[in-house]
């Protein structure tokens, strides 16, 4: 068994990741203590968060870690395109958009025999 698969090693990795991740959450509590819901700063922070998550989505689709990378880039983009089209046509139904995008991705992977 390689050291990276030792349960104690993995447990430590999970705990360290929990600490690293929650650091930002605690810092958010400290910074939000005096922030007004209607203030300009609040509006700015909310837009920063939106752009951050959007950036993460772009990275997850264009340069994914793990098994999603097995699907070629064109297939990933085509699946997202199908999902967006279904979402738009259905007047912004999350369910339909996700379902159609997923169906396209799964059908594409199956057809390519990956």
């Amino acid at each position: 068994m390689s050291p990276a698969l030792d349960p104690g090693y993995l447990l430590l990795a999970v705990v360290l990741s929990f600490v690293g991740n929650d650091l930002w959450r605690v810092l958010g509590v400290v910074l939000s203590a005096r922030l007004d819901e209607d203030s300009g700063l609040f509006a700015w922070v909310r837009m920063v968060a939106t752009a951050l998550v959007a950036g993460l989505v772009a990275k997850l689709i264009l340069a994914p870690a793990g098994g999603l990378a097995l699907a070629p880039l064109w297939l990933r983009l085509a699946a997202v395109g199908c999902g967006l089209a279904a979402y738009g046509v259905s007047r912004r139904s999350l369910t339909l958009g996700v379902a159609v995008g997923e169906a396209a991705l799964i059908a594409g992977v199956a057809a390519l025999g990956i």
Partner: protein, 250 residues
């Protein structure tokens, strides 16, 4: 359950904190929640491929509680990044949680919200809980928002932990097309949720720039690209909204 204190405090609508928490838990079983559960099915399958024991996979969901961070951790360890390298990558990926917490807490908190309750609420902030918290709580009475959010978030954590375990257990059985499909759920759902949540012009600019900038900035600063994408895209969106507001009300 609720860290709000007395569960028998009743608001003007005659509902206790526990009632609101239960309402929140029920609200978790909706399209966003179900998609989240399914994407943790994909994460569970992925950790099986990487050789993680089931309990570590479930613990990572319950404790870290951020799908992108967990995917970064699993991917980094699988690529031989080492303990500190992987933890650092996860920490960098978690920067986005800070503005999310800052944006959500002023909506949730009331006069009687303790520091402990705020810290606990912040721990539950992750993309789906954040979206749903911002979408569902503003119409509730202020004192109901925190217990509602705790009910919502706990139900999301519980469901996600269960599906992580199922995904791990099913990984050997699932055809690869389905397991790849499950991994694609998270980005697709994040993208559509962002679009639905972006109501103002400024938020649309922030969304569009965020998508467009991340791959470009990733070439220049791969370690901090998400952070810079957020700051640049968010600031641009904010300025556009300012100009639009001034034109409407000169």
């Amino acid at each position: 359950m609720s860290a709000e204190g007395d569960l028998d405090v009743v608001d003007s609508a005659g509902r206790s904190d526990l009632d609101w928490a239960l309402k929140g838990a029920v609200a978790a079983v909706n399209t966003p929640g179900v998609v989240l559960f399914l994407s943790f099915l994909g994460f569970g399958a992925m950790t099986h491929d990487f050789g993680w024991p089931l309990w570590i996979a479930v613990l990572s969901t319950a404790l870290i509680w951020a799908a992108p961070a967990q995917v970064v951790l699993a991917g980094a360890l699988a690529n031989g990044a080492g303990l500190l390298g992987a933890a650092l990558a996860v920490t960098v990926s978690g920067v986005r949680l800070l503005p999310m917490v800052v944006a959500l807490l002023p909506v949730l908190r009331s006069e009687r919200t303790s520091l402990g309750a705020r810290l606990l609420a912040a721990h539950y902030v992750a993309v789906t809980a954040w979206f749903e918290g911002l979408r569902l709580t503003p119409t509730l009475p202020r004192t109901a928002r925190m217990p509602f959010f705790f009910g919502l978030a706990n139900a999301l954590v519980l469901g996600s932990s269960i599906t992580t375990a199922i995904g791990h257990a099913a990984a050997g059985v699932l055809p690869s097309a389905l397991s790849i499909g499950l991994l694609g759920l998270t980005p697709l759902y994040f993208l559509l949720s962002l679009e639905r949540g972006a109501k103002s012009l400024g938020e649309r600019v922030a969304l569009g720039l965020g998508l467009a900038l991340a791959p470009v900035i990733g070439l220049v600063a791969p370690a901090s690209d998400i952070l810079w994408t957020g700051v640049i895209g968010g600031t641009a969106g904010f300025l556009v909204q300012r100009v639009a507001d001034k034109r409407r009300r000169p």
